[in-house]
């Protein structure tokens, strides 16, 4: 199957060190939601970063291809790659508190892509920003456009980031644990909003999370990542009925259920060491000294 985003045998290594992603392949079909599941340190965020070209400097793609809309990104020169990614893909980040520039107003930050890449006029971009803010259910949009990020709550900022991700009508959105930094009460609204926007704009969505509950609500298909390797790829009903890989089964057994709240949870037998972060940190320490 050839998806809109198709990652083939991607291997990412630390410069002069360990392997972060081993031979990862996955497909996100146009208009579909694909979940990327794994515990901390499995490398799930790194896949998103590899696609968007924002890998930490200590990491290198050593082999594999990333096909976006039928073009292998690795073969493009840097400037062209940047523009192509900017026009076709967008990110909904994990932490809305650091994802907006604190010294610029909201309005221009939503429509930056439109102005910078697609060459829109500022007035048109501002009009579009208003529409988008209405779409993500933000009241009093004109005032919000003139605000600075610190004047808005975390949930509001995440809505704004969603609006900005959809601004240039990208065909692929990577949501990197978009609800982990939020309040539980806000999480549900944000999930709804992402699903709603995804359906309306018919975008492919790569949804990175470690929360099976969240995943079961949003995704059509999923990949389970363990220590930098994809151990299982499945569609949602099949995964919940009959997980194949023992790790997937262990994950499911470790998830609380509503039907039998008294049953005790089975912990996953071993945890991945937080290999990505540890190795990146060690590399930084080595180069900083």
């Amino acid at each position: 199957m050839n998806g809109y985003l198709s990652i083939r045998n991607l291997t990412v290594r630390l410069k002069g060190g360990g392997t972060i992603l081993r031979d990862v392949s996955l497909n996100v079909a146009a208009g579909q939601v694909h979940g990327l599941m794994g515990e901390s340190g499995a490398g799930k965020s790194m896949i998103g970063k590899a696609v968007l070209g924002t890998l930490p400097r200590a990491l290198d793609i050593t082999s594999g291809q990333i096909w976006l809309d039928g073009v292998d990104l690795q073969t493009l020169p840097p400037a062209e790659r940047r523009n192509r990614i900017g026009a076709l893909a967008a990110l909904i980040p994990q932490d809305p508190l650091t994802a907006l520039n604190p010294s610029r107003r909201i309005g221009p930050q939503i429509t930056r892509r439109l102005v910078d890449i697609l060459g829109w006029k500022r007035q048109d971009a501002a009009k579009r920003a208003l529409e988008l803010l209405n779409e993500v259910h933000i009241p009093d949009a004109p005032r919000v456009m003139r605000s600075y990020p610190h004047e808005l709550s975390g949930g509001m900022r995440q809505r704004i980031l969603i609006a900005s991700a959809f601004a240039a009508e990208p065909k692929l959105i990577i949501a990197d644990e978009p609800t982990t930094a939020l309040d539980v009460t806000v999480q549900k609204q944000i999930l709804h909003l992402i699903s709603e926007m995804q359906a309306r704009h018919d975008t492919a969505l790569l949804f990175v999370t470690h929360d099976l509950g969240v995943m079961s609500k949003v995704c059509d298909t999923l990949s389970v990542l363990y220590a930098g390797k994809v151990v299982e790829e499945a569609n949602m009903p099949r995964f919940f009925m009959r997980p194949i890989h023992p790790y997937s089964a262990a994950l499911l057994a470790a998830t609380p259920t509503y039907t039998d709240p008294t049953s005790s949870l089975t912990p996953v037998p071993q945890t991945v060491v937080d290999q990505v972060e540890r190795e990146v940190m060690e590399h930084d320490l080595r180069t900083a000294s």
Partner: protein, 283 residues
């Protein structure tokens, strides 16, 4: 909550007003020194040597803050000294800031080999004792206003480079920088539009701090007679001359010292006040 915030605002305002006020007075004094100074700052009158300030017994009318051992008017010399002090503060401070902040920004944001080169230079630089380094530089370049300014820039750019590098590294790791890159911006324009505005408050604080430091360095150099020629009055020069007669005429030492102290203090307080103005979160 509201009240607390109000209090903070008010004290910040006071700080800005006091420091800004003192610096404005100083700037006016420097500009209008020929009009304001009651006497010629260079005019000696050996019959009027070491006259005390006006409130003490034996004060000479017309010499408000007394005279030094050569009979020169202390007040007039302080007023004229403000000229050199402020020129050095503004020019040397700004140049140092520009050089240091630029290098720090590049090192902190680009990392990699530019960072390695710049950071090594900073490390080496900071191993030199600054005052000796300055004296050495002046000895090589010769005395004069230009040499002082160049010496200050050469000694002190590391202060900016270090702090701004650290700050740029912190900002560079934020998600909004990554998203700027994803939306197709080049690294250079990301540095200017995303990183720079967010390190600006720090740059402003450092800049004003540096202006104060520049005044001190100039005073130190005058103290060891390496500033500009001895016949133009400088605060450091006055302190140096006053030192020899401090037991007979303390005012020759104390008044320029107080002026110097207030000026340096004002510069640093101005920076603190301005930082809060520039910071979008506190604004």
């Amino acid at each position: 909550m509201r009240d607390l915030r109000g209090d903070v605002k008010r004290t910040l305002g006071l700080r800005l007003w006091l420091s800004g006020g003192w610096l404005t007075i100083l700037a006016l004094a420097a500009l209008c020194a020929p009009l304001l100074a009651p006497k010629d700052p260079l005019m000696q009158d050996l019959f009027l040597g070491r006259m005390p300030p006006f409130w003490m017994d034996g004060a000479e009318p017309g010499y408000l803050l007394g005279t030094d051992s050569l009979g020169r008017d202390v007040l007039s010399r302080i007023l004229y000294g403000a000229r050199l002090a402020l020129i050095v503060a503004l020019v040397a401070g700004t140049l140092t800031c520009f050089v240091g902040a630029t290098l720090g920004l590049i090192a902190g944001y680009y990392r990699g080999w530019p960072d390695r080169i710049i950071s090594r230079f900073v490390d080496i630089w900071m191993a030199f004792p600054p005052v000796l380094f300055a004296i050495l530089l002046i000895a090589v370049m010769g005395t004069g206003l230009l040499s002082i300014i160049i010496a200050i820039v050469i000694i002190d750019w590391t202060r900016f480079a270090r702090v701004i590098r650290a700050e740029a590294m912190t900002q560079g790791a934020m998600d909004y920088v990554a998203s700027a890159q994803v939306s197709g911006q080049t690294r250079f324009s990301t540095m200017l539009t995303e990183i720079l505005p967010n390190v600006l408050p720090t740059i402003v604080v450092l800049l004003t701090l540096e202006m104060g430091i520049a005044v001190i360095v100039e005073a130190i150099l005058s103290f060891v007679n390496l500033s500009i020629s001895t016949d133009s009055p400088t605060w450091g020069g006055m302190i140096s001359e006053g030192r020899t007669s401090v037991h007979q005429a303390w005012w020759v030492l104390v008044f320029p010292l107080i002026t110097l102290f207030l000026t340096v203090l004002s510069f640093s307080q101005l920076g603190e006040g301005l930082k809060d103005r520039f910071d979008p979160v506190l604004r």
